[in-house]
């Protein structure tokens, strides 16, 4: 135990005794939250005992985020109460929550990229002085930083911090606000396994020392088993179970989370004669949005009937690589060949070489939100018969093809004419899947984080589609930040770090420890 740390958390001179006290107890009593007719959370209760690490487990859409947003005062609960030290409290805004010592770290970063670490810390204080005496503030911030569990250079602009450091800064912000109860929303989703262990380990020490209570949203069983004391499980907005982690197994928790035992119906990979080279990337260079180099001197080959998985922490050049291959970004050097021919991602070349892609965030990357489902489904084929005659569009043919795809891929839409932007995320994903996977012939498929934010069934569906495509002889490039996904699907695994491949191996010889270290750049 570090005596300095306790001082830092209790820098407020008026309450010197808080350090020795445990954080307050937080009780959620019968909370229900409805959005119109939709019940996001129904009658949930949980208790966060002082000085414990509590996990909130559930699938995407189970209501975890909604529940904690009710605690934080983002949403007003439709029914139910929040008790702090057994007293019912009105929490109407995150500011109110802050008053009771509750702070939240969001899934997405809430730091301001253009500012330095010091400016970001100062900004979160509810009592930021009107005129800032930087000399004095620096001294105080430096003291705080010296005493805190994480170390970051306070002069660094946040835009230059790695993802792990940004996540540490998010937690530091809460410690700086003297929060005693931390709510973490999937805090490790952007971290390498090692970084995640480091952050959670340090937080665990703070909990053990009685300085913090933590409620962590997660769906990673490994982290829940290793770091938390208690777990509450939600399923489809309802309470699905609770228990002490030491008394539960992963199988118990999975059963609570998924309801019935769901056997993953995996499509097995078949042996494909993979002698044919489809994609060849030679000495590729590309820049980031800010003009700095994102990928340098990259080489990559993919054969037919092979899934090549690229693992890495986000922001290491994988997005730029996908964008160059998909035609969204100009390369600054090197060459790309598909089927042995020079490839610059023009429409003609895409059609000739049968190149398709499933980018991340399909609504943002692959759809036109204010055009209809039918038009979006026709994006690859609208200028060819039967959907076009010369320069004329044939709307009847477009509609027929769309109706068929909507049925085959079970896209839930009121009509083919509905704007695709009005569909739910999962159905947008299905529409893109329908467009990109329905072609008679596919040679190369570029896939990036294909299941981000989808529920269990949709994930299984998409993963199976990818394996089916691979078995048909398609060359698949799979870029994902989810290491489990890479390990599950890939035939060959590469790790990208700082714009370069730093690891390559087959699935059989893959070792999670080595891959994790490479991801972190070691």
């Amino acid at each position: 135990m570090n005596p300095k740390t306790s001082e830092a958390i209790a820098t407020d001179p008026e309450t010197p005794e808080t350090a020795s006290q445990l954080p307050p107890e937080l009780d959620v009593v019968n909370v229900t939250k409805c959005f119109g007719h939709f019940i996001a959370v129904e009658n949930i209760s949980l208790t966060l005992k002082p000085g414990t690490f509590h996990a909130l487990l559930g699938e995407n859409g189970a209501g975890k985020s909604t529940l904690v947003k009710c605690i934080m005062g983002f949403h007003a609960a439709t029914h139910g109460q929040i008790l702090i030290d057994k007293q019912a409290q009105e929490i109407n805004s995150p500011r109110d929550a802050c008053k009771y010592g509750i702070g939240m770290v969001y899934q997405h970063f809430t730091v301001v990229p253009a500012m330095t670490v010091a400016e970001n810390l100062l900004l979160v204080r509810p009592d930021t002085p009107n005129l800032i005496n930087w000399k004095e503030e620096y001294k105080k911030l430096q003291q705080f930083m010296d005493a805190s569990p994480f170390k970051i250079d306070i002069d660094m602009p946040v835009s230059q911090l790695a993802a792990g450091q940004k996540q540490k800064l998010e937690i530091l912000k809460q410690l700086y606000l003297k929060s005693r109860i931390l709510i973490l929303d999937e805090p490790t989703s952007v971290l390498t396994p090692q970084e995640a262990d480091e952050v959670l380990g340090l937080l665990r020490q703070e909990v053990d020392a009685g300085r913090l209570s933590i409620l962590m949203i997660s769906h990673k069983f490994r982290e829940i088993m290793a770091f938390t004391d208690e777990v509450t499980v939600l399923r489809k907005g309802k309470f699905a179970g609770h228990g002490l982690v030491k008394e539960l197994t992963v199988a118990d928790m999975a059963a609570m989370m998924l309801g019935e035992e769901r056997e993953a119906k995996e499509v097995s990979k078949t042996q494909v004669d993979s002698s044919e080279l489809i994609l060849e990337v030679q000495n590729l260079h590309a820049d980031k949005d800010n003009g700095f180099e994102a990928i340098s001197n990259m080489n990559l080959t993919i054969k037919s009937g092979e899934i090549v998985g690229i693992a890495g922490v986000s922001g290491n050049g994988q997005r730029e690589l996908v964008e160059v291959l998909a035609g969204q970004r100009a390369r600054t050097g090197g060459e790309i060949k598909v089927n042995g021919e020079h490839y610059t991602a023009t429409r003609k070349e895409m059609a000739r070489h049968h190149v398709f892609s499933l980018p991340e965030e399909p609504l943002k990357n692959a759809c036109v939100p204010n055009m209809s489902v039918a038009e979006n489904l026709a994006l690859r084929t609208f200028d060819r018969p039967p959907q076009a005659m010369g320069i004329l569009l044939i709307f009847k043919a477009m509609r027929e093809i769309a109706t068929n795809l909507i049925q085959v891929f079970s896209i839930k839409t009121p009509s083919p004419e509905a704007l695709i932007g009005t569909l739910s995320g999962g159905n947008v994903q299905r529409a893109v899947l329908a467009r990109e996977l329905s072609a008679d012939k596919i040679r190369l498929l570029i896939v990036a984080n294909p299941v981000f934010g989808l529920d269990f069934a949709a994930v299984e569906y998409i993963h199976n589609q990818l394996v089916v495509a691979r078995n048909r002889g398609v060359a698949v490039l799979l870029v994902s930040e989810d290491l489990d996904e890479i390990l599950k699907l890939s035939d060959r695994i590469l790790v990208i770090s700082d714009g370069k491949f730093v690891y390559e191996g087959t699935r059989e010889e893959a070792d999670i420890v080595t891959i994790g270290q490479r991801m972190a750049g070691h």
Partner: protein
């Protein structure tokens, strides 16, 4: 239910702009009342001098013709997601091209001269706005700012030419070029004093609508305008589309310049730059960049422009009141943009009580 919901969305698209125009009239009326003018007298004068008689209808249509053309200069690039407001500059460049061709080929048959004038105006205006598109695509220069700067540059070029190389020495107080021969003027539609420019405007709007809505080219434009990242993933040549659309946009405004030169002024001088370009932006905004709707809006706004002198004559409102009114219409129309999808009246009332995933917050 589908029929009903599409009917509702169509009625929303029609009723909101009309309501916005009525609200602008009310606001302008209040503005006039505050300045001591009876708003109802104002409305009546506007109506009389815009649509009150066959004579005033003709004056309105004469003004609507260039507006239809300049509106396309904003409406077409808008479908690509570009806010181009270089209408005035392209119009001026078109006027310069037209007068140069009209004077150079004056001895040829009138039809040939007019075709040459139109082609010169189309090319000059087109290249002018294509420059804006090229700067946007190849250099990332904000198209709104560059096109507006190019308006000033075009006017400076016009002034330089009419005071220097192209000046007619007999034009004393208002430097102008030599006039067109009378046989080369753009004629009026028989039986009216409305010139053929109106037909040009109508045809251009119909072609533009067809091109955007019914062709593969238009599909590409709408895709790139709706989401450039999706367009790139589909391999669409965004650069070429940008240049082509900007050329078409500029050529329409250039043609408006030719119409003004050949039918109204018969020479080029500073009167070319009288605000048809800026009013064209307003037409495109009110019509929500729909070329067919632009025709209607251009006629309405043409009527308003025609009423300017009437307001001055009979009510003593100065001619800037028309500009104030345009500003008010602009602001109210933008306000109405935020009302789409918000009024319960236009929503489907048979909202299924069952939970649709789209209403679910992102968990």
């Amino acid at each position: 239910m589908n029929v009903l919901s599409s009917w509702r969305s169509l009625s929303e698209k029609i009723i909101i702009p009309i309501a916005a125009l009525i609200l602008s009239l009310v606001v302008f009326g209040i503005f006039c009342a505050l300045n001591g003018t009876n708003p109802f007298a104002v409305y009546s004068v506007i109506y009389q001098s815009a649509f009150g008689s066959a004579f005033s209808w003709q004056g309105t249509l004469v003004r609507a013709a260039p507006l239809m053309l300049t509106a396309l200069c904003t409406a077409l690039p808008a479908r690509l997601g570009l806010v181009v407001i270089g209408n005035e500059g392209a119009l001026v460049m078109g006027g310069i091209g037209a007068i140069a061709a009209g004077l150079a080929f004056s001895s040829l048959p009138p039809l040939v001269v007019q075709i040459a004038m139109a082609i010169a105006a189309i090319i000059l205006g087109g290249i002018w706005i294509m420059g804006v598109g090229a700067l946007k695509y190849y250099r990332g220069v904000n198209e709104t700012i560059s096109s507006l700067l190019m308006n000033y540059i075009a006017i400076a070029i016009l002034n330089t030419l009419v005071e220097g190389p192209m000046r007619d020495p007999s034009s004393l107080n208002k430097p102008s070029t030599y006039p067109l021969l009378e046989v080369n003027w753009l004629q009026s539609i028989p039986g009216s004093r409305v010139h053929f420019g109106l037909i040009y405007g109508l045809i251009a709007c119909v072609i533009a609508y067809f091109l955007i809505q019914r062709t593969t080219f238009g599909f590409g434009v709408r895709t790139a305008g709706g989401n450039i990242r999706a367009a790139k993933i589909a391999g669409l040549p965004v650069g070429k589309l940008t240049l082509a659309v900007c050329f078409l946009a500029g050529s329409c405004a250039g043609l408006a310049g030719m119409v003004e030169v050949a039918a109204i002024h018969h020479r080029a001088n500073a009167s070319l730059n009288t605000g048809y370009g800026y009013s064209g932006i307003l037409v495109a905004f009110v019509a929500r960049n729909n070329p067919l709707a632009s025709v209607l809006v251009a006629i309405l706004l043409g009527g308003l422009l025609a009423s300017g002198s009437g307001l001055q004559r009979s009510l003593g409102l100065n001619d800037a009141s028309v500009l104030v009114f345009q500003g008010i219409v602009f602001l109210v129309i933008l306000f109405s943009e935020s009302m789409y999808g918000k009024l319960d009246f236009f929503k489907d009332r048979q909202v299924p009580p069952k939970i649709t995933p789209s209403t679910q917050p992102i968990a």
